[in-house]
């Protein structure tokens, strides 16, 4: 099922929110790390895996989900969290390690959580698989009707956890979807160099799952296939692998020189926020000037959130020592 025009505009706005947030993070990140790059320096320390280029994968899938559904996001979680409707201010505060962040500074950018949004994340590759399948199992045991969705990259499919959990999801016929955002690179190792087959959705055969593939990085196409995926998962037939071809525009992490990516591949990179805007304008869903004002609105909203986060207080250092147990 294709999204209606109202949903398409919302998806576009959400993609822009994620993109502009990542743009601002990138700007602040580098500003504090110039001329000498020190990963520990500045307002935003640590690794940042930005979602530049993959925003379509988040909106096209998350917009199909309901409040009853569970999500585990990957080490690259910004676009997924924003598509789920988690407060941008709280996300930014967490990324800046502030006291009013999602986890009051205990988590950081790879560990975004929101109970209200049934949203978890994990920085270790493929380790969101088990929890998302467990959330699917719990939903079924409790008769709540929710499904579990795990987001990860194509390189995660080579982890043992991925295969163990896909098999269990197949054995138990869990209402579970694994969304693979295939950006072709696991840090510096290409998919061709790491993966024995061309399409990871073909692995569905091994796990009695439904395998779906979208090659366009287009939110409408993704939304359409995700609708099919959720209908299948909710029907009790078993798990789904939804493989999405996408692009990693800023490397594995900010500061990644990407010298290992062939020039011709970089030239072929597509920017889904530009492609989708052009599509919506060409189809008459929005006008060029409406697109401009949407972009201006989103920038204002995100800039305000950035200012809010910058002004927010750091946590009391003593908070490090509590919270391991209930």
């Amino acid at each position: 099922m294709l999204p209606d025009n109202e949903t398409r505009v919302k998806m576009y706005r959400t993609m822009l929110t994620s993109r502009h947030m990542d743009d601002r993070i990138m700007e602040l990140y580098y500003k504090d790390k110039t001329p000498v790059f020190d990963i520990a320096a500045g307002l935003i320390p640590g690794e940042i895996h930005s979602s530049h280029g993959q925003e379509a994968c988040a909106v096209g899938t998350v917009f199909v989900l309901g409040q009853e559904d569970w999500i585990t996001a990957a080490h690259r979680p910004h676009h997924t969290a924003i598509a789920r409707g988690i407060c941008v201010k709280k996300i930014l505060c967490e990324i800046m390690g502030k006291a009013n962040g999602l986890s009051a500074g205990r988590g950081g950018h790879m560990h975004l959580y929101s109970k209200e949004h049934k949203f978890c994340s994990s920085g270790i590759i493929a380790e969101g698989m088990g929890p998302a399948a467990g959330m699917a199992l719990a939903s079924r045991m409790q008769g709540k009707g929710g499904i579990g969705v795990c987001y990860l990259g194509e390189a995660a499919v080579n982890q043992g956890a991925w295969h163990e959990v896909m098999n269990m999801a197949g054995v138990y016929k869990l209402p579970f979807i694994c969304v693979i955002e295939d950006n072709n690179w696991g840090v510096s190792v290409s998919k061709a160099a790491s993966t024995a087959i061309a399409r990871n959705s073909d692995r569905a055969t091994s796990y009695n799952a439904l395998g779906l593939y979208v090659d366009s990085n287009d939110p409408d196409d993704i939304y359409n296939k995700m609708t099919e995926a959720t209908e299948y998962a909710r029907s009790g037939k078993g798990p789904v692998i939804l493989e999405l071809k996408t692009y990693r525009l800023q490397g594995h992490m900010l500061g990644d020189p990407q010298h290992y990516v062939p020039e011709e591949e970089k030239l072929a990179f597509r920017d889904c926020t530009i492609d989708y805007k052009n599509k919506l304008v060409n189809e008459g869903v929005i006008t060029e000037s409406e697109a401009d004002s949407i972009i201006a609105d989103i920038k204002n909203e995100v800039d305000e959130a950035v200012e809010f986060a910058i002004k927010s207080p750091l946590p009391d250092a003593q908070n490090a020592l509590t919270g391991n147990f209930v």
Binding site: M135, L137, A161
Partner: protein
């Protein structure tokens, strides 16, 4: 409590009784893991529960430890209370990340937004010639990591009370049962003192409260799990030689009842710590360090560790006995600390 019926149970039966009661009284409690549905768990904790509760609540898993511990973590986050059977403690090697990076970290990293009320059951220890990959205690590999409570009961009364407490806890709890104390048939006759008279009613035991197994005045022996029984054998023998040994079983490694241990050493001035796990960076070192940090001048002689001397556990009987914290080794350590 009703103790009138004189039911003496093994640790495995006592733990099973707690699991059964909790499953009858809380529909969110379920068990998953290796060989639980028909086999009843390798160590008998689920014996017969498959027939009672069915395959959906006593859920057999593939041999996919990373997968099912991750799955249990997600189920716990989503409101269930899973009990996970991992058979041998040695197998944490294939799923350590799921234990320490998922189950143990989600509560802290989410700033308490998500709880992980989950129990991980492990069969630990050796002494029955099962070789180097099925005989390890590995207490420290778990207790070292933040975010999980680690309990290692030594007797059936504690096994039942801690199992109730573990299942009801909103924290992630690792429940380590030593195989030779379990009383499961193929691991040999249970150690008599590991069996207890068990009340019919459910009851809980507070984590982090040590039990003084035997009072004494000359030496404090702190021992955990199977080593408690070895320590008691040594203490009883030395009693005849006029040495008064106090034996303390902390029962939980995390939280550790440091105060009770320190109080005992204040009284005796001598300390021996016995544990089946590897010596370096382990439970024995932690106990001694805790006492020294608190009471550096209390010792009449240097404390002694009786643990696995940092070697892979050998198969052959005389060699395995050499590396276990047997009563003979503990007895010698007590004599040495008395010099």
């Amino acid at each position: 409590m009703n103790m009138s019926n004189n039911r003496v149970l093994t640790m495995a039966r006592a733990g099973r009784e707690a699991v059964k009661w909790e499953m009858e009284n809380d529909k969110n409690v379920f068990m998953l893991g290796e060989d639980v549905y028909k086999f009843g768990g390798v160590f008998g904790t689920a014996d017969g529960l498959g027939e009672i509760f069915g395959a959906d609540r006593i859920l057999d898993t593939p041999i996919s430890e990373t997968g099912f511990i991750g799955l249990a973590t997600g189920a716990a986050i989503a409101g269930m209370r899973p009990i996970v059977e991992l058979a041998f403690a040695d197998f944490i090697g294939v799923c350590y990340s799921a234990i320490v990076n998922l189950a143990a970290k989600h509560h802290y990293l989410s700033n308490g937004e998500f709880k992980v009320p989950m129990v991980l059951m492990l069969g630990s220890g050796g002494g029955y010639n099962n070789g180097g990959q099925h005989s390890q205690a590995l207490h420290a590999c778990l207790a070292h990591m933040p975010g999980m409570k680690v309990i290692a009961p030594s007797n059936a009364y504690d096994a039942k009370g801690f199992m109730h407490a573990a299942i009801r806890s909103d924290d992630f709890v690792v429940y380590m049962g030593q195989k030779r104390t379990s009383g499961v048939g193929f691991f040999g006759a249970p150690i008599p003192d590991s069996m207890s008279e068990i009340p019919d009613e459910p009851y809980t035991i507070e984590f982090g409260v040590a039990r003084t197994v035997k009072e004494g005045t000359d030496v404090t022996v702190v021992a955990i799990s199977w080593a408690v029984h070895q320590a008691m054998d040594a203490a009883k023998e030395l009693e005849k030689e006029g040495i008064s040994v106090e034996v303390i079983d902390p029962r939980t490694l995390v939280p550790l009842d440091r105060e009770s241990i320190i109080n005992s050493v204040r009284k005796t001035g001598r300390l021996v710590v016995a544990d089946e796990d590897y010596q370096s960076y382990g439970f024995t070192s932690e106990v001694i360090a805790s006492v020294i940090e608190s009471e550096p001048n209390v010792f009449k002689s240097a404390p002694i560790r009786v643990a696995n001397p940092d070697t892979t556990i050998p198969y052959s009987r005389p060699m395995e006995q050499q590396v276990l914290p047997t009563s003979a080794r503990i007895k010698q350590a007590i004599l040495d600390v008395m010099k």
